[in-house]
Subunit: 335 residues, 2 copies
């Protein structure tokens, strides 16, 4: 199974998602702080994948500091650096939180840290397979599906959240056509989703983000299926910029809008979506493509990379526990 | 006044919009068939600018064939080649139609052909200035404005349609902030709109197309203002892909949606928007950026470059004659 994260010879290897699909390049990490930089620079991205990566980074931290006198200080420092690597995806904090007790109790065993990381990784894959089964039941024969960003194997431990449901529905021969928004500015759709589906011999059709409405009007899409970076207590969904736009289009055209995310993405401590810190990134992500200049670099931009979809626009939230139709505070609370 | 089209020494010069803003390069044309290729390749684009360009191309045709025996055949051939250069923008057909009578009556006078082209060009600028005045009345002090694609000086004879209204409102100090959708795949927003506004010392902020919904939800936009490539008898609007998306967002969020287009864009012979031929362009516009590969070239794409906005989503259609609120068949018919 395709996974963007692997542990080998006490090193963490990440598939560099900045250069996919033109290059398939693995980078190797020995220090937690370098992993934090990799998360920040989007070598690895996708909420569940970031959480898993942070777990392995904590294991690296115990190796790096094994001969250090004040391990507690150093390892806690690494945890805090990792916590600050990106602000929006909840799985990062959820994963790191599981190491707090180790640090508090002076447990710095590589075995324990690594086991936990592997468990986070394996559980994520298991959850994705479960969500695939639960979510695909909503898909009817010959449905057209639109997805945004990459909520696939590359964004998770493997199989994917939104793409997990799409994979499962594809395996049951239900899908007429899969459309992938290219997802500006980082092009997770045309670079990552198209690549990982092609890797599994699943065809998809890449569109610009602004084509979705036209496609839906042409009745080519019955379900929009996306992942999530964070879900708040009231079931608001924080996900890649453009998700809210799609949710509005789904409501306006009366087609289905499905969010697929493990419970590790749910942040019950935050009341509502607008309480979440939405990351703003650099202007050059819009004004350049990679090293290639697109336009003048002095133009002003507004590069917010996530948006908030209010719960009332979500038809079904698929978790590894169950599918929640018309999710709200009470249903999330009972989960 | 900035204009992307100029006639000099019996040659037509076009500002190459494919390489703006990184290069300001003028290309010179002596043959109508080469101008048709330039239109097809988007050296010049924007419905009114294409119409003006076609007029000058007809003048070139009389020069090229002045010593040719069967001028009528050759010049009609050029007209037909120009007609096929792009299928959607109506101004192309509207402008060329004005030369049919000359050809039918064996009039091949450069003077007449050129005068007509200059009149089309000058009238377009005049109309834009009129529409600027008419449209800007709808803008309130401190409104935020979002525009899509480039419906500015570069898309017209000068001043612009949508950007004409925005320029006029800016000159009256009404606008709080102008947002420009980058407009994938061709990036008319981040390349052309940002450049021509900067040229006139007007600030704007570039966003990815999928950020519009979030911006509107944040109440930063009160009016969405766009141009049009064709308007049908029932007031449906055919414009750059993504326009329909914005119209849905405007309706959903109860903000204004304004279309600015001269009557030369109105095609009373077509009943409704879905009757218009929507141009599909090459996959590499999505999979590449210019010469730069973004992703694997074998991925499937759906690169429709226009969409249809039904009249019922248009709050006001601004023409050089008047502003039509809630446009429909009867109001267009009476225009």
């Amino acid at each position: 199974m395709l996974s963007p994260i692997r542990w080998q010879n006490n090193k963490l290897q990440l598939l560099d998602q900045r250069v996919l699909p033109l290059r398939e390049k693995w980078l190797s990490y020995e220090k937690a702080c370098d992993v934090a930089t990799a998360i920040q620079n989007m070598v690895v991205r996708g909420a569940p994948a970031i959480g898993i990566t942070a777990g392995y980074a904590m294991a690296l931290s115990t190796i790096q500091h094994k001969n250090y006198k004040n391990k507690q200080k150093k390892i806690r420092q690494d945890l805090n650096i990792l916590k600050k690597s990106r602000p929006t995806a909840y799985n990062l904090f959820w994963a790191l939180q599981q190491y707090e007790h180790f640090i508090d109790t002076n447990n710095f065993s590589l075995q324990d840290y690594l086991s936990k990381a592997i468990k986070i990784h394996q559980d994520d894959i298991k959850n994705n397979l479960k969500m695939g089964k639960i979510g695909e039941k909503y898909i009817q024969k010959n449905d057209g599906i639109l997805t945004h960003c990459n909520a696939g194997a590359l964004a998770t431990g493997g199989f994917g959240t939104a793409l997990g449901v799409i994979r499962a529905a594809h395996n049951n021969n239900k899908i007429k056509k899969i459309y992938a928004d290219e997802t500006r500015p980082w092009l997770q759709g045309s670079r990552l989703t198209a690549w990982e589906l092609a890797h599994d011999n699943i065809k998809c059709c890449v569109i610009t983000d602004n084509t979705a409405a036209h496609l839906i009007r042409e009745k080519k899409v019955q379900w929009i299926i996306v992942g999530a970076d964070r879900i708040t207590a009231n079931a608001d969904v924080i996900n890649k910029i453009g998700t809210y736009n799609l949710a509005v289009l789904a409501k306006f055209h009366k087609i289905g809008f499905m969010v697929v995310a493990p419970t590790s993405t749910i942040d019950k401590n935050l009341k509502k979506g607008t309480d979440v810190q939405i990351e703003k990134r650099r202007a050059d992500e819009i004004l350049n493509f990679g090293e290639k200049k697109i336009t003048n670099k002095n133009y002003d931009t507004y590069n917010v990379v996530f948006d908030v979809t209010p719960a009332k626009l979500v038809d079904v939230l698929v978790t590894e526990k169950e599918a929640i139709e018309n999710p709200n505070f009470n249903k999330i609370n009972e989960l």
